[in-house]
């Protein structure tokens, strides 16, 4: 999966897909809305900046690392996710009603939004293209094990797979299993191991793979 060729193809496809030249169309729309006094350019800049630079999967990774390091925090996170995530300073738009799902040796949780693109923004940022795409949305519910295999994760037959379809305003974050060999790591080191994919449930956290850059 993920050959460079496919990405190039995807980009090419995206460009062909848009009916008119979207950059020009959106620029004209922004000028119009500013001219009409309907939007404030600085507010648009602030929104872009928030999701481009401030809010992303690093937030979720810190929540996960805290849960791995502090059993009492983990309990709070699983029983009242909103409050526990707020303790870490995160929350807000598209994460108003959070639920955290714990992956264990026996249970593997996977999150999807088959109807659109619902995703827990305050802890994971905006969703990647694959999460919003037809292949993932169509297959995660009917063939989760096949989807996981495509991400390189082969689950044993006796593991129970739970797929969570985000059809309402609840937003789901997967608490991945803490990998072996990380007993001596600090919270910060642990957070660096946690990937966005692991928090959606399409991957496990491993010590060998690089996590999210700080």
């Amino acid at each position: 999966m993920t050959p460079e060729v496919s990405q190039a193809h995807q980009h090419e496809h995206d460009h062909q897909a848009v009916p008119s030249e979207p950059a020009l169309r959106v620029k004209a729309l922004e000028s119009l809305l500013i001219e009409k006094g309907l939007v404030d350019r600085a507010a648009l800049d602030a929104l872009v900046d928030a999701y481009e630079n401030k809010i992303g999967p690093r937030n979720g990774a810190r929540v996960v690392a805290r849960a791995w390091s502090d059993p009492a925090y983990k309990q709070r996170l699983l029983s009242d996710a909103d409050a526990a995530i707020a303790e870490m300073g995160y929350g807000g738009l598209l994460g108003e009603h959070m639920v955290v799902l714990e992956n264990t040796v026996k249970v593997h949780n996977l999150v999807v939004c088959t109807l659109c693109s619902c995703y827990p923004w305050p802890v994971l940022g905006l969703p990647p293209v694959w999460y919003k795409s037809a292949p993932y949305r169509s297959r995660a519910v009917i063939d989760p094990r096949g989807v996981l295999r495509e991400f390189g994760l082969e689950l044993p037959q006796d593991v129970e797979v739970r797929v969570w379809d985000s059809t309402a305003e609840l937003r789901y974050l997967v608490l991945p299993e803490r990998p072996a060999g990380t007993e001596k790591m600090t919270e910060e080191q642990l957070a660096a191991l946690v990937t966005r994919e692991a928090m959606v449930g399409v991957a496990k956290v491993s010590v060998s793979k690089a996590g999210i850059a700080a």
Partner: protein, 219 residues
């Protein structure tokens, strides 16, 4: 509506293409339309559910062909035209109609920061009785609304179990059409994968779907 957006269980959509080191926005315009959607939402001429429905109304062939943020452009344009915030002529020309009154933006920088930090809860603090209890067997109603719904086709008519009661939330099926919030309980309903997909699914696997009271009937 039984639209192509409701794609859970469909085949033939191709491989999942994961992009390493993916940027938040692939083009500057994606960030701008993302932000404009939020800023225009602050006028409260529509709501989150209406906004979702505007994208569901894109004709199926186009929906599948369009990139994600291209759908956002189409949805926002439709909402603005319908609500009278801009005319199609203005949007096509990029210039305000002669003599139109200049507004004061609804979303300032301060309000944008607050919006991001606080969000817009869809829960409602009203006393509405839950029609179902945790552990109860239920059936998702076999309904096919022509308007907006968050009841996916793959679950309709299927039997499941109430796993959690999340409390009272705005009901999208009415809210999207501006006919009231109709607050009611939302539950996580567990469906055995075999109930949904038959013998091909692993016996212990399941799909949890969030469902409003109006989507369910006692089993």
């Amino acid at each position: 509506m039984n639209g192509v957006h409701d794609m859970g269980g469909m085949h033939g959509m191709g491989p999942i293409l994961e992009e390493k080191n993916e940027p938040v926005f692939h083009h500057e315009w994606e960030g701008r339309i993302f932000a404009m959607n939020r800023a225009m939402g602050a006028w409260r001429k529509w709501n989150l559910d209406a906004s979702r429905h505007s994208r569901e109304l894109i004709p199926p062939a186009e929906y599948l062909r369009m990139s994600y943020y291209a759908r956002w452009v189409a949805g926002l344009v439709d909402l603005m035209v319908q609500s009278g915030l801009a005319t199609r002529a203005e949007i096509e020309s990029g210039v305000a109609a002669a003599g139109s009154i200049k507004a004061v933006p609804a979303l300032t920088v301060d309000k944008a920061v607050t919006l991001v930090a606080k969000g817009v809860p869809a829960s409602r603090n009203v006393n509405v009785a839950a029609r179902f209890q945790v552990g109860q067997r239920v059936r998702a109603r076999n309904i096919h609304p022509v308007g907006h719904t968050r009841l996916p086709r793959y679950a309709r008519g299927k039997f499941g179990t109430i796993e959690r009661d999340h409390g009272v939330f705005v009901f999208p099926d009415t809210n999207a059409h501006f006919v009231g919030e109709k607050p009611q309980h939302v539950y996580s309903v567990r469906f055995a994968a075999r109930e949904l997909w038959g013998e091909q699914a692993a016996p212990q696997d399941s799909v949890y779907v969030d469902m409003w009271d109006d989507y369910l009937e006692p089993a």
